[in-house]
């Protein structure tokens, strides 16, 4: 028998489901559940419908592994985009960040993560094989590796560069530098040092 005052039944089950989500712990999960229970029924219905709708209609593109409703995705089928330019990102959400800039008009390839053997993620766990096949089968002038500038992003970029360079395409990496509108004296030393290394003539 549960202790008096403990949460049981459907409420406990829902808290348990929420707490499986990333960055949500049991306390936050409980807060979300009690919030939902205090709101009108149709709000919960909308949330549940939205989740199922997204889940049923969105899948991974079989070419680039971006999230899409149609397979292949519109990014892969858009004739306006340059198929010889390929941007490699870690996660599907990174595509949105680059698309927001409007400065890239090529195609994408989503790895599905970054290499980190200590977390059990090697090249075989990512869409690396598919990337190599793609580069091998289509004329690719440039492959831009746009992984995060952290330890895992760096190692992944280096690994891909070694793998892809022999295939004859130009392999590039996003530049390191200072945030626009920022202040020199607010930049941390590592960023500033990288910006110095990556300086260019004008």
């Amino acid at each position: 028998m549960p202790a008096p005052g403990s949460i049981v039944g459907p409420v406990a089950a829902l808290i348990n489901e929420f707490s499986k989500l990333p960055t949500i712990g049991p306390k936050t999960a409980a807060r979300l559940v009690f919030y939902l229970l205090n709101r009108p029924r149709h709000e919960s219905q909308m949330l549940a419908d939205a989740i199922m709708e997204a889940k049923d209609r969105v899948r991974f593109c079989s070419i680039c592994f971006a999230l899409t409703e149609a397979d292949p995705c519109t990014l892969c089928t858009d004739e306006q985009r340059d198929p010889a330019m390929l941007c490699v990102v870690a996660e599907a959400k990174d595509i949105f960040a680059i698309e927001r800039t409007g400065a890239f008009r090529g195609r994408y390839h989503v790895l599905g993560g970054l290499i980190s053997p200590m977390d059990g993620v090697g090249p075989a766990e990512l869409h690396v094989k598919e990337l190599v096949e793609r580069v091998g089968s289509t004329a690719t002038a440039e492959i831009l590796i746009a992984t995060n500038p952290n330890a895992e992003g760096e190692a992944t970029a280096l690994y891909l560069a070694r793998l892809l360079q022999p295939l004859g395409s130009l392999v590039t990496r996003l530049a390191y530098g200072l945030p626009i509108g920022g202040d020199l004296d607010y930049a941390d030393e590592t960023t500033l040092a990288r910006a110095l290394e990556g300086r260019r003539s004008m």
Partner: protein, 368 residues
């Protein structure tokens, strides 16, 4: 530098504490388990963000609460600084945050603001204990001295964990192994160079301090034993040394499935009159050498920052005989502020600026 004010909230057995230490030597007397070591641990955390004894940060947060805060007002050469280190205990583990003058800062920026040299009973194993103790000794001093050292150390540890994971995998990915080794060489070179320069300065100071302590005319030699040898203390030579050692040990590392080469296996060589101190020294000689190393650490840190660090001595003076305790404090010489704990009043003339009693996490000045 001087710590003019210390405030603790929910740190170990302290619910709240407000303390205005004096310049000079502050002596804290109290029975066991009253909060002496907790106070010094909090001071060390405030300076370095690290505890000298807790394995996990959550041990520092007082039982049953979610936030521990250490705050200090320091008078430094570059002005007055308000600094704070907080540990938040959440459902997903503990998180530390740092502020300087009320602004949140990264750890690498925070480190080195309030410099501390700690001396705790476990340091007495510095000569006879495992090499990890001596590397920890170097790291504690160098991380406070240079933020690039701390960064290199963090990068090195990550790359090392990745390399070990690659070596433990069923089939070793040679490309990945090479990538992590390049990262190890880059961060490792920074670490080795910093250690080399530091130990050169340390050796001079340690020999000098030892000369004053030792009754006999013995000579203490301190040398840096880098795991991967190099021809000269320059970036290129150190990187080449690491690369050559990695190549030479590659097969052994594959067979044993563990990274054997690099500064994570460095050590210090301590010799007395050209004989290894750990094997041949008497307990008294080993103890004197530890004191000399600690005095030297203090001297090098003071010279490099051009400012006296805080001296934190947790229950060590009572471990030493009166003569050594006096010699140690005289060796440190011009410290600006020291925090010394003891279970018993310390014999001999210590000349505390103030004596404090600690009882059940309450600290009261002894009327003088």
């Amino acid at each position: 530098m001087i710590l003019a004010h210390l405030a603790l909230s929910n740190v170990r057995n302290y619910h709240t504490l407000d303390l205005d230490p004096e310049p000079g030597l502050n002596l804290f007397i109290g029975a066991n388990a009253q909060g002496k070591s907790n106070l010094l641990e909090a001071l060390s955390m405030l300076g370095t963000g690290k505890s000298f004894r807790a394995a996990r940060d959550r041990e520092i947060v007082r039982e049953g609460v979610e936030l521990a805060v250490m705050r200090g007002s320091a008078v430094t050469r570059s002005g007055n600084v308000e600094l704070a280190c907080s540990i938040a205990q959440t459902e997903r583990g503990s998180r530390k945050t740092y502020t300087l003058n009320g602004h949140a800062v990264r750890y690498a920026r925070y480190l080195g603001t309030l410099r501390v040299v700690t001396f705790v009973p476990s340091d007495l194993q510095l000569v006879t204990g495992p090499p990890s103790l001596r590397r920890g000794f170097l790291n504690a001093a160098l991380a406070q001295d240079r933020s690039d050292y701390y960064r290199a150390l963090a990068q090195y540890r990550t790359a090392l964990a990745q390399k070990n994971a690659v070596l433990r995998a069923e089939s070793v990915d040679a490309e990945l192994l090479e990538i992590y080794e390049e990262q190890l060489i880059e961060s490792g070179t920074t670490i080795v160079l910093a250690r080399d320069h530091f130990v050169r300065e340390l050796a001079v100071e340690a020999a000098r301090a030892h000369g004053r302590f030792a009754a006999e005319r013995e000579r203490l030699d301190v040398a840096y034993a880098a795991n991967a040898p190099y021809e000269a203390p320059t970036g290129d030579a150190v990187a080449a040394g690491l690369r050559a050692a990695l190549r030479a040990q590659a097969r052994t590392e594959r067979v044993r499935r563990i990274a054997l080469v690099g500064p994570h296996r460095d050590d210090l060589v301590l010799q007395l009159d050209a004989r290894p101190l750990a094997a041949f020294g008497s307990q008294g000689q080993q103890r004197t050498a530890v004191l000399a190393l600690k005095v030297a650490e203090y001297a090098v840190m003071e010279r490099r920052a051009d400012e006296a660090p805080l001296l934190l001595l947790d229950d060590v003076l009572s471990e030493l005989d009166a003569e050594r305790a006096r010699a140690f404090l005289a060796g440190v010489g011009a410290f600006e502020q020291a925090f010394v704990t003891s279970a018993l009043p310390i014999a001999g003339p210590l000349h505390p600026a103030r004596t404090w009693n600690i009882r059940a996490a309450r600290i009261e000045a002894v009327a003088c």
